[in-house]
């Protein structure tokens, strides 16, 4: 999930949360080690089991052969009404931490204190049996989640309603589409009313309409709980969370209340190789350079600065009028905005020798962040991709203003006095 669910238009403000009742989650230098090799892992498991049965006070402090710290010295506190966002690359230790908070596995070092009822939205539809009907599985799954039967009886209709599967509720679950299964699973889990809520990304499920519903339900659940949310969607994190931990190699490398800065930090650490070339080879992008305010070959500008892009490319002589395009992608590689010579009506005549283009952007009003620039050369009517260079360059935009949307539109705004009878666009601000 890379963008906001479309139907979701009601972001809850963080200050609306009920705050009281002290700390619900307290993690103190929590560490966990795992073993890379299966055979050894099983053997260590047998050994750990023995030492557990002998009542040893601690497990071995150090690492054994093939072991590594999956989680190292993570500490935080969370009160009711707070939401902690947990971000990091795959394998950074996020799920391990959730598992320990949920009491599924024990820490190897440190201490976790949890107050109140824990609810986990980590896996949906646990315990579903494919042979049984949706209705029967509601009871099974609810029992697994610890919802008593009486409560399920009362809420059965609303669960079915929420999952939108009226006609299939008495059909075996094996005949459900995967979306239906997940909807049913979510509808049941949404009945939880925990004090501590652990959410893993699974939630972004189903079609856009259902996703909006999910987010509304999660919103309700999080209002009165201490929440930990693991997600790869920075949009979700920045909307919901009031605290953030960036995980890297099992360590909490950033742990603070400043969520936007945490997200930026995560991106800056995310050194993934995203650039690559495609196209049919009838054009070659030789070089690209970015200038701004007289400085040449820059990679950093300030918000709303001008940007001049130089592009050198050679195109097959058979193509008289190639089309050039420059696109900005965000860090999740979603396209944000684009310039195209065809859209601008610029005719670029191919001479056969190396073409040198200079493209001037008067004002870059993209949110402060890092963007990847993709250059594409197409033929005249955009049927053939001659050359495409993904993430040929990276540009960082600096600034203090971080908005909800990536691109800020510039508009004229007039404030009319109250007695003004003009009808045209009085509420533009």
């Amino acid at each position: 999930m890379g963008c906001l669910p479309l139907g979701y238009t009601h972001p809850r403000r963080k200050d609306e949360r009920v705050s009281s009742s002290g700390v619900l989650i307290k993690a103190d230098n929590v560490s966990k080690k795992f073993c890379r090799r299966l055979k050894r892992a099983l053997w260590y498991g047998a050994k750990d089991l023995t030492s557990e049965l002998l009542g040893r006070r601690t497990r071995r402090k150090g690492l054994r052969t093939d072991e590594f710290w999956a989680l190292r010295d993570v500490s935080f506190e969370l009160t009711r009404g707070e939401c902690l966002g947990l971000i990091g690359r795959n394998g950074a230790g996020k799920s391990t931490l959730l598992k320990m908070l949920n009491g599924l596995i024990k820490p190897d070092r440190g201490k976790i204190m949890i107050r109140g009822r824990v609810g986990a939205l980590i896996e949906l539809g646990t315990g579903f049996n494919p042979i049984l009907t949706g209705r029967e599985n509601i009871y099974v799954n609810a029992a697994v989640l610890g919802i008593p039967k009486g409560e399920v009886d009362k809420k059965l209709d609303s669960v079915i309603e929420f999952a939108e599967i009226h006609d299939f509720i008495d059909t075996p679950v094996q005949n459900y589409s995967s979306g239906m299964k997940v909807r049913l699973g979510f509808a049941i889990a949404a009945q939880l009313q925990p004090d501590v809520l652990l959410i893993d990304e699974v939630l972004a499920v189903g079609d856009v309409g259902f996703r909006a519903k999910c987010f509304n339900a999660i919103d309700k659940m999080t209002r009165n709980a201490a929440v930990i949310l693991v997600s790869h969607s920075m949009a979700t994190i920045s909307r919901i969370c009031s605290r953030i931990i960036v995980m890297n190699d099992g360590k909490a490398v950033y742990n603070d209340n400043d969520v936007p800065r945490g997200i930026e930090y995560y991106y800056s650490k995310l050194n993934c190789q995203t650039s690559f070339l495609t196209g049919n080879g009838r054009a070659t992008i030789v070089k690209m350079r970015m200038d701004s305010k007289g400085r040449k070959g820059i990679q950093t500008i300030r918000y709303r600065d001008e940007l001049r892009v130089h592009l050198w490319a050679s195109v097959d002589q058979m193509i008289t009028y190639p089309t050039f395009s420059i696109a900005f992608h965000n860090q999740e590689l979603y396209p944000i905005s684009q310039w195209s010579s065809l859209y601008q009506g610029v005719r670029i005549k191919n001479t056969g020798s190396i073409l040198h283009l200079q493209i001037d952007f008067n004002e870059i009003n993209l949110n402060p962040s890092v963007y990847y620039i993709t250059v594409t050369i197409l033929d005249g009517d955009q049927r053939e991709v001659l050359a495409k260079s993904f993430s040929i360059e990276k540009i960082q935009i600096l600034g203090d203003f971080v908005a909800h949307c990536p691109v800020q539109l510039v508009a004229q705004c007039t404030v009319h006095p109250p007695n003004d009878q003009h009808h045209h666009a009085p509420s533009a601000c």
Binding site: P107, I112, Q193
Partner: protein, 289 residues
């Protein structure tokens, strides 16, 4: 609900690397609490597994009847052809063998149940925190359900062989439950190792195959040394033989052995329960690692 939770003191859980054995009182309390809390889930899981099993089967309960009947028939034929020579039994041999094989089946079912349910619940264990006792209870429940079907065979045996119904019959039900607990104890004992290593499940099926022959299932308890050791050293013997004797003859021939085994079994069962609880987090770690 949350509103209530704010006014009431919230339950506090602490997770540390320390072995729970170091605070035995807290652990005993937790065990009792979880046992009570697991009843509803155990029931649901049992109903789920049984209904799924029968809904997807054409022959249904027939499969509960078939194995003990087939096994008993083999021995009846072998005995009647004098391939094997079994000493005189107090009731007609076919009835004797049928009782024995049904009871043995109950023991084996209850022995296999814990590892089977825990293995099947691996995905659940790795993702959700729930009272783990529910799995074991649902396994016992399934064994008891199958047992209730098998009791029908035994009733038919009573009628066909005109075995007199005595006060021993209701008591034998208790002895059969004893047998189920004994099987559960052995099953629970091997579960932690069995979840880690698949060798255990293979070993168990081999051992139960041999165990059948050293238990007086299709032959009466041997009286002469050294074969009488089979009856004294094998914990299944006094319980299984006791249950059969109570049902068919109305007497318990060897009450001392019966009660000694029952007592030891209950003690070991408690210990294996503790072991199981301590083992689960470690096993979950290795499931998901």
């Amino acid at each position: 609900m949350n509103e209530n939770a704010i006014t009431k003191p919230l339950p506090v859980v602490v997770h540390t690397p320390e072995s729970k054995l170091r605070s035995p009182m807290a652990m005993a309390k937790e065990m009792w609490h979880d046992l009570l809390a697991s009843r509803e889930l155990a029931w649901r899981l049992m109903v789920r597994d049984i209904s799924a099993q029968y809904r997807q089967s054409f022959l249904g309960v027939f499969w509960a009847f078939l194995p003990p009947i087939a096994m008993a028939m083999v021995f009846v034929v072998l005995n009647s052809r004098k391939v094997i020579n079994i000493t005189e039994t107090n009731i007609p041999y076919p009835a004797f063998a049928m009782f024995g094989t049904v009871l043995w089946q109950v023991f084996v079912d209850s022995l296999n149940a814990p590892l089977k349910v825990v293995t099947a619940a691996k995905p659940m264990l790795a993702k959700i925190n729930f009272p783990k006792e529910a799995l074991i209870l649902s396994g016992v429940g399934q064994t008891l359900f199958n047992l209730s079907i098998k009791l029908v065979i035994l009733m038919v045996v009573f009628v066909i062989f005109k075995i007199p119904v005595t006060w021993g019959v209701p008591l034998s039900i208790l002895a059969i439950l004893d047998l189920v607990l004994l099987g559960t104890m052995f099953g629970l004992l091997i579960t932690p190792a069995g979840v880690l290593y698949t060798d255990v499940a293979r070993g168990v099926s081999l051992i139960t195959g041999l165990w059948f022959f050293v238990t007086p299932v299709v032959y009466p308890s041997p009286k002469n040394f050294p074969f009488s050791l089979l009856a004294t050293l094998n914990p299944v013997s006094p319980i299984l033989v006791g249950a059969r004797d109570l049902a068919t003859e109305g007497v318990l021939h060897n009450p001392v052995a019966f009660f000694i085994v029952t007592f030891i079994m209950l003690v070991v069962l408690m210990i294996t329960w503790v072991v199981y609880r301590l083992a689960i987090p470690i096993l979950v770690e290795r499931m998901s690692a």
